[in-house]
C-alpha cells in the first residue's frame, strides 16, 4: 500500500487528496495541518468580518471529508524536516512519517517588515487566516481607528470587511497606486475612488514609515490608530524543502506535473512557483483556483497518473462595496479599450492572441475572454470585432460552437 504525506491543509492539500483518491482508493494519506481546524475558505475571511458568511458556512469540504477519504489529519502540527534519502517527513514533535509520494502544500505566511518602532505596537494583526480574522473582529469596535498597511488584495478586502465594524479606516501604502500588482493606474484609480466614496481613507506614496505608540508617521503623512493590520505580502513556507536540498526560486520550483527537483516530492498552492502560460515567466501564483488545479494534478500524479497543468495564468475576480473587477493573464502589447464613466475594459493582445485583460464593471461572461487566453485562440479565427465589444460565444465560427455546445464537455 502506497504511503502519501501532505504538508498543509488548505485548498491545494484537499485537492491533492481528491487527486490521489481519483486513482487510489486504499493508499494511506497523512495530512500535517498547522492550523487547528479542517479546511476552510481562506479568501472568505473578509466576508466573515462583515457577517456575509460565518465559520459554519466557510467550510471548503463537508465535515466527513477526511473520514470519507481515509485520511489521517494531524492538527496543530508543523513539518520540521524532509529527508529525501529516507523519504520521511519529521514533524516538530519528532515523529517521522515515511512517504512514497509527498506533496508540499504549506502555503505562505504574512511578511513582517522591519519598520522602525513596529515591534512596540501592541494591537497589530495579520490578515490571512480565520484565526487572524476572529481576533481582528473582536478587537474592532464601532469607533476603533483601523490602519491597514498594504493596498494589495488582502489589505483592501480587509478594509472592506472592517468597514462593517467601524467608521474609521485608513489604508497606507508605499506605492502611489493601489493593487499595483494586478491593475494599471487607470483601473486602480476607479477602484480607489469607489472605496473612498464608501468611507475608506488612503495614504499613498508613504515612504520611511515609522511607529511611535499608536501613531504612524511617514515622510508625507501621519495617522493615529487603535488597531494596525499588516498586509504587506506573503512569503512561501518552504524552509524544510530548501533545507533538504530542493530547488527553489521565489517559491518551490515545480514543472507542469507539479514535480519538484526532489524525487517523489510535489508542491502545490501558494508555496509553489510554476509557469505563467500567459507570459512564459515563472512565478508564484498565490490564487485559490490555481492552488486547486495544482493540488489535484499533483495528487493524480502522486498516485501514478499522468496529468499536466500547463495552462495556468493569474486570474483575479474581486469586488469592493458592490464594484466588481476582474483581471487575467498578462497586460501589455496591443490594447483595445472601452470606457464608460467608472467602467473600464482593457483587452491586451500579442501575436494575434489575447494575453490578458482588465475589467472594471464589464464583468458579464468574462470567462469567454479567459478561455481565449487559456486556449491561445488565434483572434483572426473568430469575429473579434463582435467579441471585443461583448463577451459572446456567437463570435466563434459555427464549427467551433458546435463542438463547444454539441456534446459532453
Amino acid at each position: 500500500m502506497k504511503k502519501y504525506v501532505i504538508i498543509g491543509n488548505g485548498a491545494a492539500a484537499v485537492s491533492c487528496i481528491e487527486g490521489i483518491r481519483s486513482r487510489d482508493d486504499t493508499g494511506e494519506i497523512t495530512v500535517i495541518s498547522e492550523e487547528d481546524r479542517p479546511v476552510y475558505c481562506r479568501p472568505l475571511i473578509s466576508y466573515y468580518l462583515e457577517d456575509k458568511t460565518d465559520a459554519g458556512r466557510m467550510n471548503y469540504r463537508a465535515a466527513d471529508f477526511y473520514e470519507k477519504n481515509g485520511c489521517r489529519v494531524l492538527y496543530g502540527h508543523r513539518a520540521a524536516a524532509i529527508d529525501p534519502a529516507k523519504k520521511t517527513v519529521t514533524a516538530e514533535d519528532g515523529r517521522a512519517f515515511p512517504y512514497d509520494a509527498l506533496c508540499i502544500a504549506s502555503g505562505a505566511s504574512p511578511a513582517a517588515p522591519p519598520l522602525n518602532g513596529l515591534d512596540a505596537v501592541r494591537e497589530k494583526y495579520f490578515f490571512t487566516t480565520l484565526d487572524d480574522a476572529e481576533k481582528l473582529k473582536a478587537a474592532v469596535k464601532r469607533d476603533t481607528r483601523v490602519l491597514i498597511l498594504g493596498a494589495g488584495l488582502i489589505g483592501l478586502k480587509c478594509a472592506e470587511g472592517c468597514r462593517a465594524l467601524t467608521t474609521d479606516i485608513t489604508v497606507c501604502n508605499r506605492s502611489k497606486q493601489i493593487l499595483s500588482r494586478i491593475l494599471d493606474a487607470d483601473a486602480a484609480g476607479i477602484v480607489r475612488r469607489h472605496m473612498e466614496k464608501n468611507g475608506v481613507r488612503f495614504l499613498l506614496g508613504c515612504t520611511d514609515m515609522r511607529f511611535e505608540g499608536n501613531r504612524m508617521t511617514a515622510e508625507s503623512a501621519a495617522a493615529d490608530f487603535d488597531v494596525l493590520v499588516l498586509a504587506l505580502g506573503t512569503a512561501p513556507n518552504m524552509a524544510p524543502f530548501k533545507a533538504a536540498g530542493g530547488e527553489t526560486g521565489r517559491g518551490i520550483l515545480v514543472n507542469e506535473r507539479l514535480e519538484t527537483s526532489l524525487p517523489g516530492v510535489y508542491a502545490a498552492g501558494d508555496c509553489a512557483e510554476g509557469l505563467d502560460a500567459s507570459s512564459g515567466e515563472r512565478k508564484i501564483m498565490a490564487l485559490m483556483p490555481i492552488a486547486c488545479m495544482q493540488g489535484y494534478t499533483a495528487g493524480v500524479n502522486m498516485a501514478g497518473g499522468d496529468r499536466v497543468y500547463d495552462d495556468a495564468f493569474p486570474i483575479n475576480s474581486f469586488g469592493f462595496f458592490g464594484l466588481h473587477a476582474m483581471t487575467a493573464g498578462t497586460c501589455g502589447g496591443d490594447m483595445y479599450e472601452e470606457r464608460d464613466g467608472e467602467k473600464l475594459k482593457r483587452l491586451f493582445m500579442k501575436d494575434g492572441r489575447l494575453c490578458g485583460f482588465i475589467l472594471v464593471g464589464y464583468t458579464a461572461r468574462a470567462g469567454i475572454y479567459t478561455s481565449l487566453i487559456r486556449e491561445k485562440t488565434p483572434l483572426d479565427a473568430l469575429n473579434f470585432e463582435l467579441l471585443k465589444k461583448t463577451a459572446t460565444t456567437a463570435a466563434f465560427p459555427e464549427a467551433a460552437r458546435r463542438k463547444k455546445f454539441g456534446g459532453v464537455v
Binding site: C41, R57, S317, F318, T363, A364, G367, F405
Partner: protein, 146 residues
Amino acid sequence: MKRIYVNEAWCLGCHLCEYNCAFANSGLPDMVEALKGKPIYPRIHVEEGDRIVYAVSCRHCTDPLCLRSCIAGAISREDGVICIDKNKCVGCLTCVLVCPYGALAPDGNGVMQKCELCLKNACGEPACVTGCPNKAIVYEERSEAV
C-alpha cells in the same frame, strides 16, 4: 447523463426560454405574479451574433472549471449536475471569470446562479425545453462533442 442542447438552426431568438426559466425558478405558482414588471434573472440566455441566435445554459462539464475555482466551496457536483449552494456563495464572480460558456450570472440578490436542469424546482425537468415553441432546445443523452 441528460443535458440541454440547442439547435441553432431552429432557435427563433424569442427569449421564451428565459421567461420560462425565471418562472420555473421563482418558486411562485403564477407566471404573472412571478415575472410581471420585475427584472428577470434567467439561468439560460439567448446569444445573438451575426445572423445567428441560440440559447446557452450550463454544460455540466465533466471537469468543471467553476467547481475547481470557487473560492467559497459553494459549487459541487450532485449526480453529474453542477450545483451552487447559494447559502455559501459570497458573489465574488470567480466562476464567471472562468466559465468558457458564459453560463453563470448573478441572481439579483448578490449571489450566483446557474442552470441546475430544473431537477430541484416544481418543474422536475428543464422548463426551457418543455416551453420552447420550435423545439430548438432538447434534453437528451449524448456522448462526446459532435
